[in-house]
C-alpha cells in the first residue's frame, strides 16, 4: 500500500517495518545498549521537495519503540541525527547511492558521536533499508 511521506500512517508503517526486519534485529542488537540510540532523520527541503521534515525514531537493542514526525531539525530526545537534502535521501532510498557513501562523503550529515555510528554501520544501513522498503509517495504540501 502506498503511504504518503510525512504522515503518522507512514511513521507507523516504518515502526512495523523495522520490527519485522530480521536484518535490523540482528544488525542493531547492540545499538542503543548503554547509550541513547534514538535517531532523528532530517529531510531538508530542496528543489525536489519543498518542506523540511524531521522524523524521530526510537531505537534500542534491535527494536523500534515508535516513530513520529517532529517540528524543527533538532530534538532533545535524539541521541543521533542523520541529515541530508531530500535529493540525497531519494538517491539513497532508491539505491542510486549507498547510505554509507552518503555518510562517509559528508553528503549526509551526522549529529552525535561519529565513532559510535561507525561501529554500527550495519545497524544504520538496515534502518535505511527499512525506510527504503516502504512504498512511499512524496506529495508536495
Amino acid at each position: 500500500m502506498t503511504l504518503v511521506f510525512g504522515t503518522e500512517a507512514w511513521a507507523a508503517a516504518l515502526v512495523a517495518e523495522i520490527n519485522a526486519s530480521s536484518e535490523y534485529r540482528n544488525a542493531a542488537a547492540k545499538w542503543g545498549d548503554g547509550f541513547n540510540g534514538n535517531v532523528l532523520l532530517v529531510f531538508d527541503a530542496d528543489t525536489t521537495f519543498p518542506k523540511t521534515h524531521a522524523l524521530l525514531v526510537l531505537l534500542a537493542k534491535g527494536a523500534c519503540r515508535g516513530a513520529s514526525f517532529v517540528p524543527g531539525v533538532a530534538h532533545p530526545g535524539a541521541g543521533f541525527g542523520l541529515r541530508a537534502p531530500f535529493s540525497v535521501w531519494k538517491d539513497v532510498l532508491s539505491r542510486k547511492m549507498l547510505a554509507a557513501t552518503a555518510i562517509l562523503t559528508g553528503k549526509m550529515k551526522v549529529d552525535g558521536d561519529r565513532m559510535t555510528l561507525l561501529k554500527h554501520t550495519a545497524a544504520h544501513r538496515a534502518l535505511v533499508a527499512c525506510v527504503a522498503a516502504l512504498d512511499t509517495e512524496f506529495l508536495s504540501p
Binding site: 530480521s22 536484518e23 549507498l98 557513501t101 561501529k119 550495519a122 533499508a129 527504503a132
Partner: protein
C-alpha cells in the same frame, strides 16, 4: 612513428619501442583499472640513458614514467603520451660486501633474483615483500613492507645509499647522511622526484631453516593482543596473519541477500634456526591463546621466503590474475583497529578469497624512519588489507563499496598504503601526508621543475 624515435634509439644504449610494438600489459598495471598509452617504451641500458631521456622529455614536454614489475594498482607504472621506462632492463646485481653486509643493485633487479643470489652466503635483505616478483626500485619507491617489518621497518629503511637521476637531469648520490632530502624523497616517494639507478641495500645474516607455527584464532581481539605480545617478545623473526572467512549462508544486507561469513584469524609465527638446533616449541608459544594450533612446519628459509608462490600460481591458473585488483590496504591505529576490522569484514563476502585475500599484519610505528611512508601515531599499529580480484564486469557495482572501505579506514584513523587502488581527492592527499605535503611540493619544484616524472597519481600542480 614519431620523428624523434630514430635519433632517440641511436642516442641510447638501450632499446626503444613504438606503439605498434607495445605489449598489451604495458598499457596497464596489476590493478587493471587504468589503460594508458605512452608514446615510447624504453628499455634503458644505463644511467646515462636515463639522463638522456630526462633531457629529451624536458625538451619535448613529455612525461617520463618508471615501471618495475607494475604491481601498483593506481596511476603508477603506466604512462599517457610520454615515455614509459621499463626499469627491469636495468637488472644487474653488483658487489656484495660481506663485512659491511651490503649489496649494490640496479633498480630493475627482482627481489627473488637477489634472494637466490645471496642465499649461498646465508645473506638476505632484512625485509622482503610477500610477492618476491617485484623490483627493488618499485618497492623502495613505495616503502616495501613484509612479514619482518615489525622488526626492521620498510625495505626503504634498509637502504644505505642511492644513485638517482633527478627530474632536472642531475646525477646525485644520496643517503640518510648526504643529500638526505633527496634520499628521503626517493624512498616511498612514488618516483616523484628522481629515478633510482643504483641502490646499496643493507643485508642481514639468515639461518638456513625456519619453523612456522600455524595458529588459528576465532576472536579478533584475542588475536590482536597475542600479535602485540608476539611482536614485543623478541622471539620471532617473521609474523604473518590473515582474515579467513567461513561462509555461513545468506542474510539480507540493505534488504538484499548476500553470502556472509564468520571470520577466523590465522596467525603464522616463524623463527629461523640452524639445522640440528631446533627451537623450543613450548617456550616460543608460551602465553599465546589460539583457538587451535593447526600445524608446525619446518622448511629451508629460502623456501619460506617463497611461500606465496603456490598461491600466486593458483591465481594465475584460475585466471584471476587477469582480473581487476583494486586492493585497499591501510595501517590502522592500535586503538581503533579491532572496531574498523570488524565493521569492514562484517560486510565482506567470503568470495574475496577467490583470487584474493584479507591481510592483517601487526606492526610497530617505531621501526620506520621513512618520511613519505605515512602511518598513524603510536607504538603499535595494525596493517589491514582487502585484496580482491574482481571480474571487470563487476567493477561498476564494487568500486563504490571499495571506496567506502577506504573512507571508513580513514575515519578510523588509518593511513592508506599507496601501492593499492587509491582514489583520493586533492584534499584527501593533503590529509594523508599532513605537514609532509608542503615539503613534497617543495621537493617537486626543486628536483623535477618541469613535473615530468610519474604524473597522474600525486596531485602536484602541473607546470603552467
Amino acid at each position: 612513428m614519431d620523428k624523434p624515435s630514430a635519433p632517440l634509439a641511436q642516442s641510447l644504449e638501450g632499446t626503444v619501442r613504438t606503439p605498434a610494438h607495445f605489449t598489451p600489459d604495458q598499457l596497464e598495471n596489476y590493478g587493471r583499472i587504468f589503460q594508458w598509452t605512452p608514446r615510447f617504451v624504453v628499455y634503458p641500458g644505463s644511467q646515462r640513458d636515463i639522463v638522456t631521456l630526462v633531457a629529451l622529455c624536458r625538451k619535448n614536454k613529455w612525461s617520463l614514467s618508471t615501471r618495475g614489475a607494475a604491481h601498483s594498482q593506481s596511476q603508477l607504472a603506466i604512462n599517457q603520451d610520454g615515455v614509459l621506462l621499463e626499469m627491469q632492463a636495468m637488472n644487474r646485481i653488483g658487489e656484495v660486501d660481506e663485512d659491511k653486509l651490503t649489496v649494490d643493485v640496479e633498480p630493475g633487479v627482482v627481489w627473488r633474483d637477489l634472494v637466490h643470489h645471496l642465499a649461498p652466503r646465508n645473506l638476505v635483505p632484512p625485509v622482503l615483500t610477500n610477492n618476491l616478483g617485484v623490483t627493488v626500485g618499485g618497492t623502495l619507491s613505495m616503502a616495501g613492507i613484509g612479514v619482518a617489518s615489525f622488526r626492521y621497518g620498510s625495505q626503504g629503511d634498509n637502504v644505505v645509499e642511492l644513485d638517482v637521476v633527478t627530474g632536472d637531469g642531475s646525477v646525485v648520490t644520496c643517503s640518510p647522511e648526504t643529500n638526505d632530502d633527496l634520499f628521503w624523497g626517493a624512498i616511498a616517494g612514488l618516483g616523484s622526484f628522481c629515478v633510482i639507478t643504483r641502490a646499496r641495500l643493507q643485508l642481514r645474516r639468515m639461518k638456513p631453516m625456519t619453523r612456522t607455527y600455524y595458529l588459528l584464532y576465532d576472536d579478533l581481539r584475542v588475536f590482536l593482543e597475542d600479535a602485540r605480545s608476539a611482536m614485543d617478545s623478541g622471539r620471532w623473526d617473521h609474523l604473518e596473519s590473515w582474515g579467513a572467512p567461513c561462509a555461513q549462508g545468506t542474510r539480507p544486507v540493505a534488504g538484499m541477500r548476500q553470502v556472509f561469513a564468520k571470520w577466523f584469524y590465522p596467525f603464522h609465527l616463524t623463527v629461523e634456526y640452524d639445522a640440528g638446533n631446533p627451537p623450543d616449541d613450548a617456550a616460543l608459544l608460551a602465553g599465546l591463546r589460539p583457538y587451535d594450533n593447526l600445524y608446525t612446519d619446518d622448511c629451508p628459509t629460502l623456501e619460506f621466503l617463497e611461500r606465496m608462490v603456490p598461491i600466486f600460481d593458483l591465481w594465475k591458473k584460475a585466471g584471476t590474475w587477469e582480473f581487476m585488483h583494486p586492493w585497499i590496504e591501510c595501517i590502522l591505529p592500535w586503538e581503533t583497529a579491532a572496531d574498523c576490522i570488524e565493521q569492514v569484514l562484517g560486510d565482506t563476502p567470503p568470495g574475496i578469497q577467490v583470487g584474493g585475500h584479507v591481510l592483517l599484519w601487526p606492526a610497530k610505528g617505531t621501526t620506520s624512519r621513512s618520511k613519505n611512508f605515512m602511518v598513524p601515531p603510536g607504538e603499535n599499529l595494525v596493517g589491514f588489507g582487502l585484496l580482491p580480484a574482481i571480474p571487470q564486469k563487476f567493477w561498476g557495482e564494487m568500486s563504490e563499496r571499495l571506496e567506502n572501505v577506504s573512507r571508513m579506514m580513514l575515519m578510523f584513523g588509518g593511513k592508506r598504503y599507496l601501492s593499492g587502488w587509491v582514489n583520493f581527492t586533492p584534499d584527501e592527499w593533503k590529509e594523508h601526508f599532513g605537514a609532509r605535503w608542503d615539503e613534497l611540493c617543495a621537493l617537486k619544484r626543486r628536483y623535477d621543475p618541469d613535473a615530468i616524472l610519474n604524473p597522474g597519481f600525486l596531485p602536484f600542480e602541473a607546470k603552467p
